[in-house]
């Protein structure tokens, strides 16, 4: 099945029972699959009037206690930034899938891009942390969609799946396993009775338990800066307390959140750092380099946000250079360069979009780095 369809199936397996979206190439097939599957399993699919509304409806559904998702591509992703920020502020578990196409603006609607990576990190206004995962195959997007729901429930944060058009549209074999209910995470529920419950009071850790509408808790939540009661408080102190917790609940748990895959990095002089479809091409280039006697390896970023800083830092003392192929004109390469801190060279191999790198182009960069 295609990556888009696998994503929808992953969501169903993860317990997602609400989807709101708006048609957009190359993410439409996620919505189509959900519109067929959700009514079969007692869920609801709704096509909203735009992506502003889609993201709003997803948040509403989550506050009614249902696992909820939307899927879009660049232009719709831009519109969703507004309510993504509300999702962060209200601490709303949900999943947002971006099947990236070449941009800016309408760009190349049917063709691949990876240009929304920084928008994923900083697209909504303000200082916040988000979780973003990048799949590289239909099977991977199936698996990561389940991971995305689990992380969003655990940390009460919207989780982004930053796929690309090639992964979304390619068809490969996908194994849909039995997913044990106990392997699926659900948000922590309030342990106190209505009247005693404060929506943003944390007992242990940094993630507050979450009541949902209709249970008699009579809670209030707001996009304004708020205190433990959920009430607006217009002071710098309240802002400091809230923003620190919103950021720290992700930052301090990064070891639990961050996933990456490595191929032959143990002795690598040259580390190719890539994600999404580019990681698969990079792996091929690494093999070609090894055949030439160059000690190359692959670091495939699966979690892109929060960024795998520690691992890059470790590798920068061992490796001579990082080669970073991306289907954009340089986004994640900046993070790699920052973390390498001058200890290793950083070489960007950009592709402006509409196609993928040829392995030969990446190999050439590896060769240059090895000289």
């Amino acid at each position: 099945m295609s990556g888009d369809v696998a994503c929808a199936e992953g969501a169903i397996s993860a317990g997602c029972r609400f989807f709101a979206g708006y048609p957009i190439t190359p993410a439409t097939e996620v919505a189509e699959r959900m519109s067929t599957r959700l009514p079969q399993v007692g869920g609801v699919y709704i096509q909203m009037e735009d992506e502003l509304a889609s993201m709003g409806a997803v948040l509403g559904a989550s506050w009614a206690g249902v696992k909820a998702m939307t899927a879009t591509s660049g232009p719709g992703f831009s519109l969703m930034m507004e309510n993504l920020g509300l999702g962060v502020m209200l601490e709303t578990p949900c999943v947002l899938v971006d099947i990236q196409r070449a941009a800016p603006s309408t760009g190349l609607p049917t063709m691949v891009g990876q240009g929304d990576m920084m928008q994923a990190r900083w697209g909504s206004h303000g200082s916040y942390e988000i979780i973003a995962l990048v799949p590289s195959s239909p099977q991977h997007i199936f698996d990561l969609t389940i991971t995305a729901f689990n992380l969003s429930e655990k940390y009460r944060v919207p989780v982004l799946i930053m796929a690309d058009e090639v992964v979304g549209h390619m068809s490969e074999k996908v194994v849909i396993p039995y997913v044990a209910p106990e392997s699926l995470l659900n948000r922590q529920r309030p342990k106190v009775r209505p009247g005693k419950y404060l929506p943003y009071e944390v007992d242990d850790g940094l993630v507050p338990p979450m009541a949902v509408a209709g249970e008699g808790y009579h809670f209030h939540v707001t996009g304004l800066t708020h205190d433990e009661r959920g009430y607006p408080v217009m002071t710098a102190e309240a802002q400091d307390r809230l923003v620190r917790r919103l950021v720290d609940k992700i930052r301090l748990n990064r070891k639990d959140i961050i996933q990456y895959k490595e191929v032959q990095v143990e002795d690598a002089d040259i580390v190719v750092c890539a994600y999404g479809i580019s990681a698969r091409i990079a792996q091929f280039a690494v093999k070609m380099a090894r055949d030439e006697g160059i000690r190359a390896g692959l670091l495939q970023l699966v979690t892109v946000w929060p960024f795998a800083e520690e691992r890059i830092r470790e590798l920068s003392s061992q490796a001579r250079a990082f080669v970073v192929p991306e289907i954009n004109y340089g986004q994640i390469v900046r993070e790699v360069e920052r973390c390498a801190g001058g200890d290793a060279m950083t070489i960007l191999v950009p592709h402006m979009g509409g196609g993928v790198h040829s392995p030969a182009v990446i190999l050439e960069a590896i060769r240059e780095a090895a000289q």
Binding site: F18, L52, A53, G60, A64, A213, H218, H220
Partner: protein, 288 residues
């Protein structure tokens, strides 16, 4: 009489977040009286407050959700209706009320308003219309009457306003009414009616905004607006909605305009769910 007002006061006490007082609204504003009508309406027997969810957007009226002790959501500018749509579809047992202002619901949120009416989703929208953007200091809105003075139309508003009841009715709403902040009894009754009415209900509440809109349009005190509503309101239930435009200083036609039965979005979704399950079963049998 005494008995009734006791019950009313109990209802206000019970569902008001007293720990959030004083509120932010100006003296003479119509949002408070409208919120009072809502509080009294939910004190009636038909409404289960545990199943009632309140959603607001941004602006002066957007603050209502913060003062009422229900499951209440203060969301983004214009998006209260989409948020409420998600709540209602994910849990059809919820009674969902959107309480927001004209700028929020009709300008930035206008598209969501007409689509929610078209879907006939079971939801009540209370739209406090004070003809301008109060929170930001009195700018023109798509509801400002032609020639009205605002901080951005010093020479008179040059855009005609929406006729909200006509717009929402044409879009497919099941229930449409308009009252003013003076029509306390009628408004409370309308809100109570709308909350138990299946389908999309819309209540426009014409409201004084003495500090900004009023000051610039010869209604500098809340009482001036109330007097104007008293003198110029015409109750016309079932009015032809083509004739309910609001002109500057003109008559205000109020009343229950639309009350009709349509299948709701929930009704239609239940059919879809039955069909989907039947089809899935047939397919499964075919494989055996």
């Amino acid at each position: 009489m005494t008995n009734t007002s006791n019950i009313e006061n109990q209802s206000i006490e019970r569902y008001l977040r007293r720990d959030r007082l004083p509120h932010i609204w100006c003296a003479g504003c119509g949002i408070g009286p409208t919120a009072g009508c809502f509080l009294r309406a939910i004190g009636r027997d038909e409404i289960d407050p545990d199943k009632l969810a309140l959603v607001s957007g941004i602006g002066c009226t957007g603050r209502v959700a913060g003062y009422i002790k229900l499951d209440s959501f203060h969301t983004t500018h214009g998006r209260a209706i989409p948020f409420a749509t998600g709540l209602k579809l994910a849990n059809p047992e919820l009674n969902v009320v959107v309480f927001s202002g004209d700028g929020d619901l009709v300008a930035i949120g206008g598209n969501h308003l007409i689509h929610a009416a078209r879907r006939n989703i079971d939801m009540t929208v209370i739209c406090v219309n004070n003809f301008n953007y109060g929170m930001t200091g009195g700018q023109a809105a798509p509801t400002s009457p032609l020639e009205a003075r605002t901080t951005t139309t010093r020479y008179g508003n040059f855009e005609p306003p929406f006729n909200l009841p006509y717009l929402v009715s044409a879009s497919g709403a099941s229930y449409v009414a308009r009252w003013t902040a003076l029509h306390i009894r009628e408004l409370e009754k309308a809100i109570a009616e709308a909350m138990i009415k299946p389908g999309f209900s819309f209540i426009e509440v014409i409201s004084p905004c003495p500090v900004v809109y009023g000051r610039m349009n010869k209604e500098p005190e809340g009482l001036d607006s109330m007097r104007y509503y008293q003198e110029r309101s015409i109750v016309r239930n079932g009015a032809d909605l083509r004739d309910v435009d609001i002109d500057l200083n003109g008559p205000i036609v109020v009343g229950k305009f639309v009350d009709r039965e349509y299948p709701t979005l929930g009704d239609n979704l239940r059919q879809v769910s039955i069909r989907a399950k039947e089809k899935a079963q047939t397919k499964a049998k075919g494989k055996i």
